[in-house]
Each structure stands twice: as structure tokens, then as C-alpha cells.
């Protein structure tokens, strides 16, 4: 777990969180000669800390373990969050699981199915390219794509990404091909991507952090299908394991699992250490010359608020992606449970065109922007079984499988505009098992997201019909709230994306941003925020690769003291 309180451990940096951001920061810091301690509140099921070349094998194709039984944590009974749509809801309307990513060594990357696209050039310049939107704080990033490109390339090499350079006509320029070719296309994605092409769209093999060939000492993916929300039993997924292994093998890094950071100790604008609490109940301050916070865009602002960091924007501009699901029922079986969950995507709905401009104008908006669309389906039988009503016919429904084996889906990760009222703060009453106030999420979509979802869901419906779907159904996450809102359900007014961004945005001016253009807290410049909390806008892409690239860039600069 950890050696407990001690003396003479002068870490150059303590990194809070071992997910993609914390792992990338650990690597960048150790490679520049720094000593680091990574503290992770969750358990270690990933890597043998005594022999980092060896990987632990506790992940499995087990829906009970990874679904209803929270194997990767956090368990909402002991680490809940709370939710409300707006202040008009009162203190909260829900206590439980709110957009949780795993609390375990490796963080969110352990359960992700590893879609790791780069952002477009426009994603860094949304205000300049598209202009302001009333009710949102659209801004440019304080860096551009070209600044990040070398770090995207490094990130793709480290985690191992399979893909086909040149296959996406909208992609920003790349300086190198993908490290691996794409894996096999899933049958459903062959149907839907062919139909998308016939509709004039541009599907391409999804850039995927799963090995298509042996890479980094880990085997090729064997298509078991337990991908989204599962740890990989054979470690074919490019979670942060390669970065953590390299950092540990440098001899300059330690990882302490089951050790929770409860406060960053900040005195006179400088961090001097981190207060830790472990599972034996020991609480102490571990000193360090600097601190990196990479706990995810909900837990990072929570920790900074618990640490007394004062900035009017800290916790604000929480973004989740507005997800649009269009599902179609196909006459034939699609066996979506084979393969790596999503093998094709298309980016057309991130790009302004005549139809989207007309839809924006009709909605009274200056523009709308969708997101990357994943060609996917449903794969898990327990989840399916819970969808059909109990009683006579349940077995027949499962055998016929209209909601799983015949279902193809297109899922759009829609751009979610930053709004000041969407925020993470400390719940005034609800505590975790450690006795600390939990994170409260206040979130409601901007009408931009609703208008974009409306417009693009029509296009996606036509694609599915063109692929052979007999009927289709559309849903969104978050769904609109109703008086009978099912807050605990899979689809509810609580965003389900597991893409969380924006709660400590970076920018050039401390009046407009919590972090500077290099991810350092304006309030304490020896604190680096190295996760998606710093994203000024959400883009329409999963955040993981950009988290890693940005953490590599910013941690290297942090180490150099720029």
C-alpha cells in the first residue's frame, strides 16, 4: 500500500491520480530526472509494483464483476456524488453514482474501450472559427494544434494506437503514421460505415488504443468483446500501463495505491505537500517540492476546493459531451459482442456545412457542432435482460434479442458548450466514508446541444435505415428531465458519458481561467493540473489522447520551470 508516515522522502513531485494524465505526468517528470510519488486512492489490479515488467491478471470477461459490482470502483455506497440540474433543484436531487470513471491504478483508461482520436485544429480555436454563443463561454485554447502535435505523436507511440493515417479527410496534419494498423472491422460497422459512405459521409477506422499486433511487450487484441467498461484480461488495451512501467523502471517513481489525497497543503501561494489518508486510517502530510493534480475533472476541483484554493471559476464550466444514441433493429444477428466495441467512426458532424448552418439558424443559434460518431451496438446480456419487463415472455425476448444481438447503433459524442452554471462544488451535507464532503455536480445542457442532437440524429437515423435497419429509436444522455425522472437509470438527466472536462480551465488571464496556458494553477504555480479539468472547450471527441498529450507537454515544461 504505502510505507506510512516517514521522513527524508523529498519527492520532487507528488502526483494525485494514476490515470492517463497522472501517468503521462509521471513519465515526463521522471524522464527529466525528477523523483515522483503517484498516490492513487483505488486499488492496484494493473502492475506488479515490485517488478513493473510483470502485469497483474485480475481483469476478466465478467459482467457481474465489472457491471453491478463496481470492481474498478468507486463504489457509490462509500464514495457517492450528488447531482442537480440547477440551483432551482435545491441542494440535490440524487445521491449515488454520477459519471464515475474507475478509481483504480490506471484510472479511466482501464475501462475505456480506447477510442483515442486527436482533436481537430478548429477544436483549439472555437471562438475564432465559430464565434460566441449567448449563454456559453466559448473560448480559444491558449495553445494550438501545432503546439500539441509532437505530443500527440509521442502519446500514440507510448500507449500504442492502431489506425489508418489519411483515412479521415477532416483530420489535422500528422507528422507520423499510427504505430499499428487497424484491427478487424466489426460486422455491424461494415454495414453502417458502408451506408454512411453512400450517404456522403466519411467513416474511417477508429483510432484505437488496443493492440492490433503485439506491441510494447503486450499481445494483440483477440476480439473477446468485453471492452467498454472492462479491464483487458490480456492487457491488449493501451491503458497507461506503458507509461507507468517506464516511470517505475526509471527508479525515480513510486506508486502508492489505496492512499487518498485529502488536501494539497498550500502556504502563501506555494504547495508544500499533500495530506494523505490510507486504508489503515493513517493521516499525514507528505512533503514535496511540487504537486500534480490529475484526479479527473470531478475529483480534481473537489480536491482543490478541499485544499482552500480560491478562484471564482474553479469547478465551473463542467462539460460531459452531449451523447446522441440512434439505435436500429436489423433483421439479421449482428454479434456485436465480438470485437473491440467500436471499429469505425466518422467526423462529418464536427464540420460546418449548409445543412448544419440552416439548422442552427432555425434554432436561433449562430452555429451548431456535433461530435465524433461511433459505429457500435449493444453487447452485454445482463444489461439486456434488465431492459425487458419481467414475467411471461422474458426468455423469448432474450432468445430473440431485439435489444442486443439485432441492434446496431450510432453514438455521437456531441460538443458540450461551457456554461458558468454547470459546475462541480462541495455538497453541503453529503460525505464520503472518509468523512469528506463529496463532489456535487450541477449540470443542464445548453440549447445548442439539444439543437445539434436534433439535427444530427436525423442524419444518423437515415444512415441506419440505409444499412438495413427496420426501425430505429433515438435517445440522448443526458435525457430531458421529467417529473418522473429516473435518476438512477442508465439513461437519465445525469450525463453518462464518462467524459468529464473543463472544471479548472486554462487560459492566459487569471480573471478568465484557473490555470495558466501550461496547466499551472494561477493561485499556486507549483501545482500542475494534468487532466481534462484544464480543457477550455469539450471538442466532440473522447478526451483521453488529448489528456495524455497535454500532460506530457505541460509536465515537461513544469519540470523545466518554464
Amino acid at each position: 500500500m504505502n510505507p506510512g508516515p516517514g521522513t527524508a522522502r523529498d519527492f520532487d513531485a507528488i502526483i494525485v491520480g494514476s490515470g492517463p494524465g497522472g501517468s503521462a505526468a509521471a513519465l515526463a517528470l521522471t524522464e527529466t530526472g525528477r523523483s515522483v510519488l503517484v498516490v492513487e486512492k483505488g486499488r492496484n489490479h494493473l502492475i506488479d509494483l515490485d517488478d513493473p515488467r510483470r502485469l497483474i491478471q485480475r481483469y476478466s470477461n465478467d459482467e457481474i464483476k465489472f457491471g453491478p459490482r463496481h470492481f474498478l470502483g468507486p463504489d457509490p455506497i462509500v464514495e457517492p456524488r450528488t447531482f442537480r440540474i440547477s440551483e432551482a433543484d435545491g441542494d440535490r436531487v440524487f445521491v449515488g453514482e454520477v459519471n464515475s470513471v474507475p478509481a483504480t491504478v490506471g484510472g479511466g483508461a482501464v475501462h475505456a474501450d480506447g477510442k483515442v482520436p486527436r482533436f481537430l485544429e478548429e477544436d483549439f480555436r472555437l471562438l475564432s472559427e465559430r464565434g460566441p454563443v449567448e449563454g456559453a463561454e466559448v473560448v480559444d485554447w491558449p495553445l494550438c494544434y501545432d503546439d500539441l502535435e509532437p505530443f500527440y505523436e509521442q502519446a500514440e507511440g507510448l500507449i500504442g494506437v492502431s489506425g489508418a493515417a489519411g483515412s479521415n479527410p477532416f483530420a489535422a496534419p500528422r507528422s507520423a503514421p499510427y504505430p499499428m494498423p487497424p484491427g478487424p472491422a466489426m460486422y455491424v460497422a461494415r454495414l453502417t460505415s458502408a451506408a454512411a459512405e453512400r450517404a456522403g459521409l466519411h467513416p474511417y477506422p477508429a483510432p484505437t488504443a488496443a493492440n492490433s499486433v503485439p506491441y510494447g511487450g503486450r499481445p494483440a487484441c483477440n476480439n473477446c468483446g468485453f471492452c467498454s467498461f472492462f479491464g483487458c484480461p490480456i492487457h491488449a488495451k493501451g491503458d497507461p500501463v506503458a507509461m507507468l512501467q517506464r516511470a517505475l523502471l526509471s527508479g525515480r517513481a513510486q506508486i502508492w495505491p489505496e492512499t487518498c489525497a485529502t488536501r494539497v497543503v498550500i502556504e502563501h501561494g506555494r504547495a508544500t505537500g499533500v495530506e494523505l489518508l490510507d486504508q489503515a486510517g493513517r493521516r499525514w502530510v507528505e512533503p514535496a517540492a511540487s504537486v500534480v493534480v490529475a484526479a479527473g475533472a470531478i475529483e480534481t476541483p473537489r480536491l482543490l476546493l478541499l485544499s482552500g484554493v480560491e478562484h471564482p471559476l474553479l469547478g465551473r464550466y463542467a462539460m460531459f459531451h452531449f451523447q446522441t444514441y440512434v439505435a436500429g433493429h436489423f433483421p439479421q444477428r449482428l454479434h456485436v459482442h465480438r470485437g473491440r466495441a467500436v471499429t469505425h467512426v466518422h467526423d462529418d458532424h464536427l464540420v460546418s456545412d449548409l445543412a448544419s448552418r440552416a439548422a442552427a439558424a432555425a434554432a436561433g443559434l449562430p452555429w451548431i457542432r456535433g461530435g465524433m460518431v461511433e459505429h457500435a451496438g449493444a453487447s452485454l446480456p445482463i444489461e439486456e435482460a434488465k431492459l425487458y419487463p419481467w414475467g411471461s415472455g422474458h426468455g423469448a425476448s432474450m432468445a430473440a434479442s431485439p435489444m442486443r444481438d439485432h441492434l446496431g447503433a450510432l453514438v455521437m459524442q456531441g460538443e458540450d458548450l461551457p456554461q458558468s452554471g454547470n459546475r462541480v462544488d462541495l455538497d453541503p451535507a453529503v460525505r464520503d466514508a472518509r468523512g469528506l464532503p463529496v463532489a456535487r455536480v450541477t449540470y443542464g445542457p445548453h440549447r445548442h446541444e439539444l439543437a445539434a442532437s436534433d439535427h444530427y440524429s436525423g442524419i444518423l437515423t437515415e444512415v441506419l435505415k440505409g444499412a438495413g435497419a427496420e426501425w430505429t429509436v433515438t435517445a440522448t444522455s443526458p435525457m430531458p428531465a421529467t417529473p418522473l425522472t429516473p435518476y438512477g437509470d442508465l439513461i437519465s438527466p445525469i450525463p453518462a458519458s464518462r467524459h468529464v472536462m473543463g472544471t479548472a480551465r486554462m487560459g492566459r488571464d487569471p480573471a478568465d481561467a484557473v490555470c495558466d496556458p501550461w496547466g499551472r494553477l494561477f493561485a499556486a504555480p507549483n501545482v500542475l493540473v494534468a487532466d481534462s479539468s484544464v480543457f477550455p472547450t469539450s471538442a466532440g471527441y473522447g478526451p483521453t489522447l488529448t489528456i495524455v498529450a497535454l500532460a506530457l507537454r505541460n509536465a515537461a515544461a513544469f519540470s523545466a520551470g518554464t
Partner: protein
Amino acid sequence: MPVFLTDEEYTILTSVCSRLIPSEDGPGATEAGVVDYIDTLLGAFSYDPPRIWAAGPYSGRHGGDPGFAEFLTLSPLEELAWRSRIEGSLGLAEREVNGPVVGLQQRYREGVAALGSGFPELSPSEQDAALHAHAEFAALVFEHACEGMYGAPEYGGNRDLVGWRLIDFAGDVQPRGYTDAEVSEP
């Protein structure tokens, strides 16, 4: 022998499960032993390690060693969570940070008692009416019945893989996986 339920509760709950997922043209909850899945969950801490998470990485059904037969130990925080969920808070301060928690054991005990010892003798339509009258309990049992019907058999249900056979699902396929052709072709 059930590990948590009494023999009478076991009999009543078996009847409940057989209405939630009936045996009709194919096997249902009875053949899958769904009640044993529920009893194993409720009595998880009668075992050491507790029967919460099967270890893995493989079951042995598609190669490799039968690692699902072993269960993983819990950390103190995980044990706190699972004891709270199953046993309830029982007035213990560390389980009542946000107030009392009613455990699954109590919900099952009270739910079964409310249906009464005569439940197995009712006609199917009377049983359905009783379950609709106790909708919250029926929803709880149904959730677990789905897990016991279509989850890995090491958790006590899906006996002889009847659930997976019904839906032609291979279940956990590591370390074999699927071939590229099985992924890409119809």
C-alpha cells in the same frame, strides 16, 4: 443448503424467481438456479474470501486455468461498502456517514415475508398479482435474477450455462477470443 435464506424463504424466493423469469419454451430462473445466486450474494460474507468478485483472468471454459473459481479479497473500504450494501448499517457509525442504510438481507427477509408462506401455492396469475402489489421488491429480485440467469456460473446461478445456451452466447471467451472472421463476417 442455503447459506443465508431459511429453507422456507428459499422455497418462496424460488417461486418468485420462477415468475420473474419463467420456464416457458426454454429454461428459466428455476433451471438456472437463480435463487442460489441470490442466496450466495446475501451470504457472501459466509465465505472467505467473500463471494463478491471472481478472480479470473479466465474461467477455463475456453482455455486457461479456471480462475473464476477463486474469489478476490476486499480492501477495508471495499468491505465497508459491501457489508453496508448486504448487511445494512446496523447502527454502526462507520456505515452511517450519511444516515442508516437498509441492507439487502433485510430487504429480502421483509420482502419474502410480505409475500407470505402461501405464495408458492398461489396460481401463476395470483403470484403475478402479488408481485405487482409488491413492485419494489419484485424489481429488486428481478435485477438479481437477470444477473443470476445471464452472469458467470461461479456466482451461483446460470447452472450448466442454461442462460447462455438459451441466447447462444459463449460468455467469457478469454483466452481464446474470436477470430477476425468471426468479428467481420455475418
